[in-house]
Amino acid sequence: MANTGWDEFEIGAMLRSFDGKIDDIAGTLQEDRAYSQSNSFVASVADWRIEKPVFNKDFCIDCQFCWVYCPDISIISRDKKMIGIDMDHCKGCGICVEVCPTNPKSLLMFPEHADEEAELTNWPAKDEEK
């Protein structure tokens, strides 16, 4: 799009969400949708993040709280199973961590540059006070 000339785009302050005709969009998974280049789905906002959530599937009970509460639809869940986080669109708000009910939490915030494998290895133990 960077090389598109002034006379090459569609007129009007108008952008298309999808390339071509869409059919059952609600029944189509995000990865299968023909998002257009101008759809915000294709833009990464990963660099907005200062902290990132790390997901530890060992403690997850698939309650879907994080999926429900995420304001950016960045929790990837398939067949009611938590799969991971869409790191292109997560802005690091930490709401998923806040609402996670497990002990220890299955989602924790770490600095953006933290090593995920190392943090998973050093995951906090169950908090007996709770």
Partner: protein, 407 residues
């Protein structure tokens, strides 16, 4: 079609407002969002009555302001309907923000503007202040001189505006009271003729096309804004006039009435020409004819299209004229006047040696009399005889007290 058709006489006695309302009825508009303001109120009032009486299949949206009226029109146009409204003066001023939205979003809305002065002091009568306020808003602007024009230009405005190569909103201007409330004979089209001229509305990128979802009114910053504006200006400069000429030609075939981008009355062999707009064109024509009887080769040039500005057409039309007067019916507030500036721009860099002088007249509905115009043509002839402009470049016509002039 579930609505009734109206039997019209070949010639009806209509004022400009009712003529515009009838044209809107015959175009079968899907959505009119409107707020009343003098002197344009009878247009939307008339349209609402047609709707209530089942002469139209559409929606009339009553809103809380003119800003909301145009916003409603924008939403309806983006959704994919044929849309129109009307306003004047202060209401037009309140609409200004949304006018730029409509043109930038390339939505073909038709706005009937019944020209009226802008406060302060508050004034309900006709001048061109509101029309001038809209001239940089990216709309096409047509100017009617009489109720017949107001009727005809509505059809032409829909036809041009809705063309997929154009997709720019259009204003049809008429003078407050002088046109809007003065009943004259108006030659009509039948409902079928009128509707078939504009044709069925063809949506483009409409939001109600659920198989092709679109986001309207997006944001761009320094990365893309300029390209969008450049595209809009390009289309105004290159695509609109050919479509207007085509629409004028088609309309002549249908009605026998011929419109031109610039209306020339005895201009071709004229020594002195007055350039003006609105009802003043008709007065000036009458005086020019009288001047010819006195041996002064007088002519009148009326602008039928104000935006895009007919730069080339005016330059060509005035090339052999010796003295030109521009009549601006809007307070230039610290400048020479829109017509003076634009016409000076059209003629500069050409071979003409025409003398150009500007006049400000008719503010707040002040009459432009035949005596004023007789004096004006006489002044122009004196300029021709002297070979130079013998008066100040900017003079006020018809204002009280000592003669007022500048430049």
């Amino acid at each position: 079609m579930s609505f009734k058709k109206m039997e019209l006489r070949e010639v009806e006695v209509w004022d400009g407002n009712f003529a515009a309302a009838q044209a809107m009825r015959q175009c079968q508009i899907d959505v009119v969002a409107a707020y009343p303001i003098t002197p344009s109120t009878p247009i939307v009032e008339g349209y609402a009555k047609f709707l209530a009486d089942n002469y139209v299949e559409g929606e009339f949206v009553m809103v809380e302001s003119e800003h909301a009226a145009m916003s409603g029109c924008i939403g309806a146009a983006a959704a994919g309907g044929r849309v129109a409204t009307a306003t004047s003066s202060q209401g037009f001023a309140l609409m200004v923000e949304t006018l730029y939205q409509a043109s930038g979003m390339r939505l073909p809305i038709v706005l009937n503007v019944v020209n009226r002065a802008l406060a302060a002091p508050l004034n309900v009568n006709g001048d061109h202040s509101d029309m001038y306020l809209g001239r940089d808003s990216g709309w096409i602007q047509f100017d009617a001189y009489c109720p017949q024009d107001a009727y005809d230009l509505n059809f032409i405005a829909f036809k041009v505006s809705e063309d997929h190569d154009v997709r720019l909103p259009a204003m049809v201007h008429q003078d407050g009271f002088m046109t809007s409330h003065t009943a004259q004979g108006v030659k009509t089209l039948t409902d079928d003729q009128g509707y078939n001229f504009v044709g069925d509305y063809k949506p483009m990128n409409d939001m109600l096309d659920f198989e092709h979802p679109v986001t309207h009114g997006v944001q761009t910053e320094e990365d893309w804004h300029f390209e969008h504006k450049a595209r809009q200006h390009n289309d105004l400069m290159t695509k609109v006039f050919p479509k207007i000429e085509q629409a004028f030609a088609d309309f002549e075939k249908l009605s026998g009435r011929k419109y031109n981008i610039v209306e020339k009355y005895d201009v071709d062999d004229a020594d002195v020409v007055v350039v003006c707009m609105g009802t003043s064109v008709e007065t000036a024509r009458e005086v020019a004819a009288e001047m010819r009887e006195k041996g002064i080769k007088a002519g009148v040039l009326g602008l039928r299209v104000i935006r895009p500005f007919p730069f080339k057409q005016i330059s060509e039309a005035l090339q052999n004229v010796k003295a030109i007067a521009t009549l601006d019916r809007s307070n230039p507030n610290g400048a020479a006047g829109m017509l003076f500036n634009e016409i000076a721009g059209s003629l500069f860099n050409t071979d003409t040696k025409a003398l150009l002088s500007g006049y400000i007249y008719g503010l707040g509905g002040r009459d432009l009399t035949k005596a004023h115009l007789t004096d004006l043509f006489t002044e122009l002839q004196a300029n021709v005889d002297a070979g130079k402009v013998t008066t100040p470049l900017q003079q006020f016509i018809g204002v009280r007290g000592p003669k007022l002039s500048f430049l």
